[in-house]
Symmetry: D2
Subunit: 206 residues, 4 copies
């Protein structure tokens, strides 16, 4: 037994309740297309496929979906990134900023351009979810050790019940993927699966 558990970390389960909203973080070509320096990691491609499956069900049941990509005008208006590829290629007019068509429905999804790691940071996603009466937020996207971690923290601190389906998020290596799910699962969010979320959507719309 680890010392976090001894000290009551992870002792409470959150659960899905009320209306859900789904956020889809940074499934843009920069991360899903292997032609780009940060793109095409196997865990990310697995997350993309499971998220596409989840979104198919979600859209059929009218669940609010907010999707984002990260892009800037120039290095001046971006935060102090330590990643060369982000500094050089994450631009509004760069082809790698386009959302992956596997997860994007332009007729359905609310799309925002974000500037930080978190999809909630200085974007209209929280106001949108307030207006929709969302109680539980489902986090999908990449990378687990970057923008997923940040978005999960924000969903939690804004007061939402927060669920991370493990198979809908991905990363470049499995170690940091696991480490971050461990950290957030102790504190902020339930680590779940696409199937469990799909079952909840189907159950609650009956």
């Amino acid at each position: 037994m680890d010392d976090y558990k001894n000290r009551s970390y992870g002792a409470v389960e959150i659960g899905m309740k009320g209306k859900i909203g789904i956020v889809v973080v940074d499934y843009q070509l920069a991360f899903t297309d292997a032609r780009y320096p940060l793109g095409g990691a196997p865990l990310v491609m697995r997350g993309l496929d499971n998220t596409a499956r989840l979104l198919g069900v979600a859209r059929a049941h009218g669940v609010p979906v907010a999707s984002c990509f990260t892009a800037y005008k120039s290095e001046r208006d971006m935060p102090h990134w330590k990643i060369t590829a982000v500094r050089e290629q994450f631009r509004h007019d760069h082809p790698s900023s386009a959302l992956d068509p596997k997860i994007h429905d332009p007729d359905y999804d609310v799309v925002v351009c974000k500037s930080g790691p978190s999809i909630f940071f200085q974007t209209p996603v929280v106001p949108y979810f307030i207006k929709e009466g969302v109680e539980t937020v489902i986090i999908t996207g990449c990378n687990t050790s970057g923008c997923i971690r940040a978005s999960t923290i924000d969903s939690f601190q804004w007061g939402f019940r927060t669920i991370v389906p493990e198979d809908c998020v991905g990363d470049i290596e499995e170690g940091p993927h696991r480490d971050n799910l461990r950290d957030v699962g102790r504190r902020y969010a339930d680590v779940s699966s696409a199937d469990e979320v799909i079952a909840y959507i189907q159950r609650s719309s009956r």
Copy 2:
């Protein structure tokens, strides 16, 4: 060589520049006093001592210091914490909410009560640092895998240069401490030391 490095993560160093501001996250008795369920972890006590040393120099040079604790009125106004001890004891009127006297100077520090993991989340610390003209933020406090990770992400996404002196932050176990410094050091912040920050303060005030 790991695959993050291959893909240009961590390739840029940020550096300290301009005016610095120091945030001191959650060095309240709940974390620094072993009588409380989350308190007294050795890495945290080490971080407390080094932070006290850093703050001594910082205050002598007029560096802005913002310190926080986490507390609520009741379970209703707190986010969905998975940690029983936080749910039960993090209260405005609980003795464990007091800042540890080792790091707190009530005549100098700006103190805020925060509600989420990040010291910047819905607190007046960003406006304070804007008014002070802060360019570089130094992150101290606990725990590395919780509120330090969240505060580091926020400092970065608000546009500040962000420095985490490794010996000024602490955690319950060393594994998550290292994992989180690895994640943020690749993306958002330089991992540094109390001595390096002290040297910068002394150098820049000459």
Copy 3:
């Protein structure tokens, strides 16, 4: 007919719906006690009395109440106020920062210290209302042409239905009170009364 109306301003009524939350803005002694330079304006005292009446009903029905005061440690951590009395007296340890006992129930209200004009600006009130599932926000307090205007804009932009009971807010002079209700009533909020809100609370709890 004014040119705003011609252009479709104010054409839609918002209405109260779902769960309400009440914010009580700056009914601290600085504004309600005539011994202080900004205190004791007749319209403010009228607003205080009506708010007290509204809160009596609200608390009996379990409605969430968030109350705030404005205070700072020093001039350094406050924004660039143009009001001498705010610069000099709005301090954590000043007696005029205490909430007026007419509207404050320490056993019931969630109280926050705010740093800007809006009760929602960098405070935990939005997360609290998200967690409570609030759909409609009732704005009470002072001054209409200052912190009420700011709080109303924020309630609106965060996605809440927003109601300003005219007799629960007050100001130093009647002109700016009316001007600001006119501006927000065209765009963001319904201008209503304590009695209408009380009727809604009683009706919706049946």
Copy 4:
């Protein structure tokens, strides 16, 4: 003498200091082109011309410029607007969402799509200005009694020195234009002119 002045409102002047940043609020065709229901008010057209003149000088001196328009995907992701024209026409794909070419330089300006009245509300403008080291914010755009009032409050509460050049902002009628400049000039911002800001830019770059 009015009772606000008696009570020390407006007693402190803020002044321009340090690096400035300019925000250009909602000079989109919806407000500047008389073919649209909210467009073409004479005071707005005057503000547009003076802002274009100010921006010409600002760009030549490397001053950061952030410009915004307001648009949504549908009525679902917008706040509860009371203005029919906003509900029906403020869409990403509507021609009236385009920035007026008089004030927009796509090679220079950082452009954000905002969802609320304030250009700072849930947009990356504050992080951009933090990274640029902006100390003084100049507010231009329309309407004075709507988005200018909201943006001025936010600039102030984020800790910036805030200047509103009266001839760079406009409204549908002159009454609300004056009323709102009066309210913010008492509390949050200096009411100034394009010429004064131009003189500051030229003076400070010498």
